[in-house]
């Protein structure tokens, strides 16, 4: 294989259609951060990648989406980078965020919440944050992200070191500049009544679209 091709593979910009043993080694070197869920990690080849855009589609908020981001938050804090919440649907609750890992680590976390009034401001803020290089994790809640907006965010994310997540209602499945498109289906256990989720990967790196088996609703991990 030619050297430039190898480099692209190592960076994760390019991947092979099938998983080979050699390929698995190359993937390990990428800066994956876990989703906190074993099945999802496997399906995604290790978890979330930085510098990429990850879409999480939800019909309702609070269906375990934040738990998937929690390990990325811990890592950002360890790397002394800030965590940005752009237009969240409710107030992130500080005591729960502080329980995420050892107190000595999480006490230094910088959570910055932004509540823009308009969508244009939200997108502008997201780009500004990513271009500044200060963000470790950026979470953006958007109602109807346009293809252009996502394309711009994708470029900004590529220039940063951050894990970028876009939360939105269910979107049409046409092509968008996301690295991962995850749709969360909520259902109930017919016996106990406890919530269940099914993760549907509309798009992922290194694999075909996939529906995972039902799982109990992931809870916020706390020490």
């Amino acid at each position: 294989m030619s050297a430039p091709l190898q480099q692209l593979l190592e960076k994760g910009s390019l991947w092979r259609g099938h998983k080979g043993a050699a390929n698995a080694n190359a993937r390990e070197s990428l800066a994956y951060v876990s989703t906190g869920q074993v099945e999802l990690d496997q399906a995604l080849g290790g978890g979330w990648l930085p510098q990429r855009l990850h879409e999480i589609q939800l019909q309702q908020f609070f269906v375990g989406e934040l738990a998937l981001v929690a390990p990325a938050m811990v890592q950002a804090t360890q790397q002394q980078r800030s965590i940005f919440w752009l237009a969240p649907p409710a107030q992130p609750y500080a005591p729960a965020l502080a329980q995420l890992a050892e107190a000595s680590v999480m006490a230094q976390a910088q959570h910055i919440v932004l509540r823009p009034q308009r969508v244009t401001d939200t997108l502008w803020s997201a780009e500004t944050i990513l271009h500044s290089g200060q963000a470790g994790v950026l979470m953006v809640w958007l109602e109807e992200p346009s293809a252009i907006a996502i394309r711009r965010l994708h470029l900004a994310a590529a220039a940063s070191q951050a894990y970028v997540f876009v939360f939105s209602p269910w979107q049409p499945e046409e092509a968008r500049s996301y690295a991962t498109r995850l749709r969360i289906h909520l259902s109930q256990d017919s016996v106990s009544g406890y919530g269940q989720v099914q993760w549907q990967l509309l798009k992922r790196m290194g694999g075909w679209p996939l529906r995972l088996a039902r799982q109990p609703l992931p809870k916020w991990p706390s020490k």
Binding site: L66, Y93, A94, A98, W124, S125, G133, Q134, G195
Partner: protein, 459 residues
């Protein structure tokens, strides 16, 4: 030893630095009342223009004359500004508005033992200003000033015209055939006093240092205020950005020498009809670099309607404070950041509004509504002793129908003391509960309201 620095064309030369295209043209400053030339540049000098000449006469000497109004206040401000620069090298400065200032070299003798050292230092400080000046060095301030103004090397050669006294006295002196200071000093003091009056005796005493001069010493300003006249009326924000950059560079220099940063900029735009419009740029996290400040000002300008053509712009820096330095771990390698967190937050807050960007912090309280607080953006999260808390909190607890919920874990009772303002005297039982759609919520039963509320979400 006193040094006097005479700056006969300060205001005009300053304009030339800011507007370099003026240099090739004969430019003068004139007073509004008498229409008299007070300052001119070299090109004008070559055309034969002199100080005190009528503006009409100047017009006859050269057609493409560029006349600008002389501003007394501007001149004083410039002198102040110059003095604050010289203050880097000289401790004792006294302003002599409008055209010069004194420096005392005596307190600096340890640092600059020879007069030559002081002069080199002075030249170094004045170099960036690109102004022409004349110097006088003498034992007394008055003598130094006369030397600088007359351009003479020796004090006896100073013509009597430069004596700071009434015109009648000067006339008398000349009628007596006394043309220079040397000739005057040769006359016995008592005789001169009898013939020419008490004024002259006092003057001579001041010149010879027998009577101390009462000078007011310069203190460097604590605030930055500057005003820049534009050559032509500006009719858009774009046209203003270049002169504004100049002002911001001056500000950076000012802040740099003090190791300070500003948290508020006040831009004033002066219009032809005398009205002033103001623009305030707040920087919650401080700033001092001209580039960054310019970007913030432009952000603000873009969102503001341009009112009327602008003649002058002014810049004021407020809320100066010491700089905070971001320290980084050397071992973690070079930072990837394009700009500092403070810079980023400034930009975000300027566009979104200060209230819309904030940080989160834990508080040492057990009661759910009080165990967290909004903090300035960039604050650290802090510790907590609480466990089993949900990551989401609803800003307002919302009343729920308990029939849709199944309580799974609890209760946890909180009773607040009566003296708390908002939550005083409340008794609540908190429960983890399962909603009928399968999500886990955080409910409480309020005994005062006798109702169930949803406080947060666990998922």
């Amino acid at each position: 030893m006193w040094l006097y620095v005479a700056l006969p064309h300060l205001q005009l030369e300053r304009m030339q630095v800011l507007h370099p295209d003026l240099q090739g043209q004969p430019a003068v400053l004139y007073t509004e009342q008498q229409q008299m030339v007070v300052q001119f540049n070299q090109t004008a000098q070559r055309q034969g223009i002199r100080v005190g000449m009528n503006l009409a006469d100047a017009w006859t000497l050269t057609e493409n004359l560029q006349p600008y109004l002389y501003r007394e206040s501007q001149q004083r401000a410039l002198l102040q500004h110059l003095a604050s620069d010289l203050y880097h090298a000289f401790a004792v400065i006294s302003l002599d508005p409008p055209l010069g200032l004194w420096l005392d070299t005596k307190p600096m003798q340890k640092l600059y033992p020879q007069l030559q050292h002081s002069l080199t230092q002075l030249e170094l400080q004045l170099q960036p200003w690109q102004v022409s000046y004349t110097l006088g060095a003498a034992k007394t301030p008055l003598l130094a000033k006369m030397l600088a103004q007359s351009g003479m090397q020796q004090s006896p050669d100073i013509p009597v015209d430069y004596l700071p006294c009434s015109p009648e006295l000067q006339k008398k002196l000349r009628r007596m055939g006394i043309q220079t200071l040397g000739a005057l000093q040769a006359i016995p003091r008592a005789l001169a006093g009898r013939r020419l009056g008490h004024e002259l005796v006092q003057l001579l005493a001041r010149i010879q240092g027998e009577q101390p001069e009462s000078l007011r010493y310069f203190r460097p300003p604590e605030w930055f205020t500057q005003r820049l006249p534009l050559l032509a009326e500006a009719t858009s924000w774009q046209a203003l950005s270049f002169p504004l950059k100049r002002l911001l560079q001056e500000l950076e220099h000012f802040l740099e020498s003090r190791q300070q940063q500003t948290r508020q900029l006040l831009l004033s735009f002066y219009h032809r009809d005398g009205s002033v419009s103001k623009l305030q740029v707040g920087l919650a996290h401080g700033g001092y670099q001209a580039e960054a400040l310019l970007r913030l000002c432009q952000l603000k300008m873009e969102s503001t309607q341009f009112l009327a053509p602008v003649l002058d712009i002014g810049l004021q820096a407020k809320q100066l404070q010491g700089r905070q330095h971001e320290s980084r771990d050397l071992l973690q390698g070079a930072s990837q950041a394009q700009k500092s967190l403070a810079q980023l937050l400034n930009e975000l807050q300027l566009r979104l509004g200060r209230q819309q960007v904030f940080g989160l912090q834990t508080a040492a309280e057990a009661f759910p509504d009080l165990s967290w607080q909004l903090a300035p953006a960039g604050a650290e999260l802090g510790r907590t002793e609480l466990i089993k808390r949900p990551p989401w909190l609803l800003e307002q607890p919302c009343p729920v129908d308990i029939r849709q919920w199944q309580l799974t874990r609890g209760p946890e009772r909180f009773a607040t003391p009566w003296w708390l303002r908002t939550y005083g005297g409340a008794t609540r039982d908190y429960w983890q509960a399962l909603h009928q759609d399968g999500r886990n919520g955080w409910l409480f039963y309020d005994y005062r309201q006798q109702h169930w509320y949803l406080q947060g979400w666990f998922n």
